[in-house]
């Protein structure tokens, strides 16, 4: 097939930038990485990009296609080529570019290292053999342990764009990999450290990280798990935590958000007094609903009782979020033809025949149908 690409070239030595277009012949199954290889081999040996495993596990080839971070090795080109669209390939965002599609990952790794990403078993002497841990407890960190450190989440993190010091989705997901590990004994210290100014509560919940992650880590969910664990441990003095807790208080008292009290409950009375001028400007437009009489939901008693019940059941903290994941894991975008296969099932009409051992008489009737 013919594939056309536009690539943002960047020369780190001179600072020159240029958008170059390439048109190549590639095999039908070619990925974006395969196309870059063809360009580099046959058209322009100066093109720079990282690659290694070409099977979505080493995390080398994160880059942007039409502004969205992807793994080049995971991106099949046939559909795009057939549509006639000429995608623009560029280096990932939120990291300095070294050359063409190669970014400087140093700031990325600095943040990973900042979360002290190694198991801390504290003063517990490890057992002679393995730590005995039920699989269900290890499942809590399953998604975070899938991370390949490619940087696709960081590339488009809106908070990091606004605050370059934000620890960011990859580092915080790595942090949860330890906070959620039953063998780790530094949970409180970690949660305190991650609750700093540029930590958990800096996340703006734009969900770009979940959208871009090529491995299903869902870093935003990992950040929520950290928040959940922090509040469970009583590490809740940050304004972000106070903000979150006020919603719980609101729901179990009036059912609806007690919006006007949210600012003082989040920022504290003193700080919110400084905002009085701003508040007055909103008040004039009816944007500050009076707290009294409160807006109370009908049958709010049910919500109150539910709170009591839920408290007793013990699905708290990160586990309360993890319990939502099982059905979510099945939500994947599939190749064309998937629906069809799912509809007929593994042995339905049109499927490959049922297996048989040599000497057995062919496959069974329904399998061969």
């Amino acid at each position: 097939m013919k594939v056309a690409l536009k690539i943002w070239r960047y020369d780190g030595a001179t600072g020159e930038k240029a958008l170059r277009e390439y048109e190549i012949e590639a095999p039908e199954e070619a990925t974006l990485l395969d196309c870059l290889d063809i360009i580099k081999d046959r058209h322009d040996g100066t093109l720079a990009y990282r690659k290694s495993c070409r099977m979505m596990i080493c995390g080398s080839c994160g880059m942007r296609m039409d502004g969205a971070a992807v793994l080049a090795c995971k991106t099949r080109m046939a559909e795009i080529a057939a549509s006639g669209h000429v995608p623009v390939i560029s280096a990932m965002g939120n990291l300095p570019v070294l050359k063409d599609l190669v970014v400087d990952m140093t700031p990325f790794w600095q943040k990973i290292r900042a979360v002290k990403p190694w198991l801390d078993t504290g003063y517990v002497e490890p057992p002679e053999k393995e730590f005995v841990v039920p699989q269900a407890e290890m499942d809590v960190i399953h998604k975070e342990s899938l991370c390949i450190m490619c940087g696709c989440c960081v590339s488009e993190c809106n908070s990091m764009e606004a605050d370059p010091d934000f620890l960011g989705p990859a580092a915080l997901a790595k942090g949860f990999r330890f906070v959620g590990d039953p063998r780790d004994r530094a949970t409180v210290e970690r949660l305190q450290a991650y609750s700093d100014e540029h930590g958990i509560w800096d996340c703006t919940r734009c969900y770009f990280c979940n959208e871009r992650c090529p491995k299903g880590v869902d870093p935003r969910d990992a950040i929520a798990k950290l928040g959940a664990e922090a509040m469970r441990e009583g590490i809740d003095s940050d304004m972000g935590a106070r903000h979150a807790k006020w919603f719980v208080t609101s729901a179990k008292t009036t059912g609806w958000l007690r919006e006007t009290e949210l600012v003082p409950k989040t920022q504290g009375v003193v700080r919110s007094l400084k905002e009085i001028g701003f508040a007055m400007s909103l008040l004039r437009r009816g944007k500050v609903p009076p707290p009294f009489p409160p807006h109370v939901a009908k049958d709010v008693d049910e919500a109150r009782q539910l709170y009591e019940l839920v408290e007793r059941e013990g699905h708290e903290g990160a586990r309360g979020i993890v319990q939502l994941e099982k059905p979510l894991a099945r939500l994947e975008r599939h190749e064309a033809g998937y629906e069809e296969a799912a509809a007929r099932g593994p042995y339905g009409p049109g499927s490959f025949p049922k297996p048989y051992l040599p000497g057995e008489n062919e496959s069974t009737e329904e399998g061969a149908a």
Binding site: R42, L119, E130, M149, R183, P346, S351, P355, G359
Partner: protein, 562 residues
């Protein structure tokens, strides 16, 4: 100058670096990739140690399976050390936080693997290499914080520095900034991995070019058993990426185009879980007899059901869906044999020491030899850990005992700069990719699963031709920053030399043993003439071949059936 320089940062390199550091040495790690990008991370199915968590097992059983799997070419003293120390190394990894899968009791789960007498493969779903690489890098980062462990990432090690009969460091090309730099140490550990990229169809990453083997070869060191390249039976069609043996360990079937479980005709007892060499030959025979589909057979997981596939083999499903458009819950996966693992490598003793003082090697680059003529699935990750640790320890002890040395000469840097300048100054000539592609295709054709004398002869001639053409390759990128055009050209030179060693050793081994199969002229194993290791050394006119005895302890060669 570091006490220990570790070249390569996959499982073996990182494990060696950690051990050397913990022994008290200062450590510099040199890697052409960031450590977590290393190809160890692509290992899927698991890591073998006789823990006995699922069924009764012992290091002795593990050793016997390994010896038999090696077709009796493995060095039995090394294998006994390996299987005895493996369990402790696994517990160490677990204590560091490795995210292994668990059994019902909460202990480490173990699954059956090919040619193993007991389920002894510890795993993490089907991303075992990934979790190992990450836990080792975590431990590396912990030691980096303390200061005397430094990682020179994206530095391409290219030549060994040898002074007064001792290895004193490596010559590198700095990929990020450009330029030659020397990283020097009192000991050097090679842990650069394999060389599957010599073949067109391979599970190996683009970075697996045999750098370390070639560096050692050109420093005059012996390479051992280079004719033994393992072909993995289940590499995905068409991309060649690995689909784990764990699929068969969990109960997957191999089918020909008729739906027949053909392995019953080749290995009536072990069926799909026969040794890899056996399964790859069976598949090739089926395909050559016209019972394949598109040059492939089928790996059928459908009967395992969605739940098992989603929990135990999610990575394989993702690979099949992404690269072959097949969801294994509903359809069988097209697979074929592909180059996977070099059993041979830099000859070492049981502590990873090579013939050259101060130089050690561990992992796929090395040949201890634990794997002999055929490696068992799950033994390579274990080898990286156990022998990575041993090499790291030995290298550190050597360095700490060898005392302070004066400055080493920087002449190797001048030489390297001169040679690179010469290569970069060439503006007319052939681009390397054609030579690379021809090497890959011809090695697959002439030195693959089955080997025939005329084809091997032809391949030797072709390699000479390609080496001749290589003398005239042109590097287009003349810049300093991230010049992979340059490093890829250097890698190609390595691969051509190694291919020569491989084919030469293969032609001379007039028998069939493990992964080396000569169905036309020498279909049987010949213990009388060839129960010995081949040794390749670089001479004035290319590699020179000799042989060395296999170290036997308690197992005499027997007929090998599965």
């Amino acid at each position: 100058m570091y006490d220990v320089v570790v070249v390569g940062a996959g499982c073996a390199g990182m494990r060696a670096a950690i051990e050397a550091y913990d022994t008290g040495a200062s450590v510099g790690v040199v890697s052409k990739l960031h450590p977590t990008r290393s190809h160890s991370g692509a290992a899927e199915g698991g890591i073998n140690a006789a823990l006995g968590n699922t069924a009764e097992d012992s290091p002795e059983k593990h050793a016997f399976d390994t010896v038999k799997g090696s077709d009796y070419l493995g060095d039995q003293d090394a294998i006994e050390i390996f299987t005895a120390e493996a369990p402790g190394d696994i517990y160490q990894l677990e204590h560091w936080g490795c995210v292994f899968s668990r059994n019902e009791e909460g202990k480490l789960a173990q699954r059956p693997f090919g040619a193993a007498g007991s389920p002894r493969t510890v795993y993490s779903a089907d991303i075992t290499g990934h979790v190992l690489v990450h836990v080792l890098y975590e431990q590396l980062m912990k030691r980096m914080e303390e200061g005397s462990l430094v990682v020179h990432e994206e530095s391409f090690a290219w030549r060994l520095m040898v002074e007064d009969g001792r290895c004193v460091g490596v010559v590198c090309w700095d990929l990020v900034r450009g330029g030659v730099k020397l990283v020097t140490g009192r000991s050097v550990v090679l842990a650069t991995g394999g060389m599957g990229r010599i073949y067109r169809a391979t599970t190996n990453a683009y970075s697996c070019n045999g750098d370390g083997m070639a560096m050692a070869l050109h420093a005059g060191l012996p390479l051992k058993d280079m004719e033994f390249m393992q072909f993995h039976p289940t590499t995905l069609y068409p991309s060649g990426v690995l689909i784990t043996e764990g699929c068969r360990g969990e109960g997957g079937y191999l089918l020909n185009r008729d739906g027949e479980r053909f392995m019953a005709r080749y290995a009536p007892n072990a069926l799909e879980l026969a040794s890899r060499d056996v399964v790859s030959r069976a598949e090739t025979t089926e395909i050559e007899a016209g019972r394949g589909i598109n040059g492939s057979v089928l790996l059928d997981l459908r009967h395992l059901g969605a739940e098992k596939i989603l929990t135990r083999l999610p990575g394989s499903r993702e690979l099949a869906m992404t690269f072959a458009g097949v969801d294994p819950i509903y359809d069988p996966i097209p697979v074929r044999p592909g180059a996977h693992y070099m059993m041979g490598g830099v000859a070492t003793d049981n502590w990873g020491a090579t013939e050259l003082e101060g130089l050690y090697a561990a992992g796929e680059v090395a040949c201890v030899s634990v794997h002999g003529a055929n490696r068992l699935g799950g033994n390579s990750l274990m080898e990286t850990i156990t022998f990575g640790r041993r090499a790291g320890r030995a290298a550190a002890e050597h360095a700490l005992a060898s005392g302070r040395r004066g400055e080493v000469s920087d002449a190797p840097a001048r030489d390297a700069e001169r040679d690179l300048a010469q290569l970069l100054s060439r503006t007319d000539g052939e681009r390397p990719w054609k030579i690379r592609d021809e090497l890959g295709a011809s090695m697959l054709e002439n030195f693959g699963v089955f080997r025939y004398p005329d084809r091997m002869e032809r391949q030797l001639e072709l390699i000479q031709e390609l080496r001749e053409r290589y003398r005239n390759v042109v590097v287009e990128d003349k810049g300093e920053i991230f010049n992979t055009d340059l490093t890829q050209a250097l890698e190609l030179g390595y691969m051509l030399d190694l291919a020569w060693c491989m084919v030469q050793a293969g032609l001379a081994r007039e028998e069939s043993r493990g992964a080396h199969s000569r169905p036309a002229d020498f279909p049987e194993r010949d213990d009388e003439r060839f129960l010995k290791h081949s040794i390749s050394r670089w001479g004035d006119d290319g590699p020179e071949l000799s042989y060395e005895e296999v170290r036997m302890t308690r197992w005499q060669p027997e007929v090998r059936t599965y």
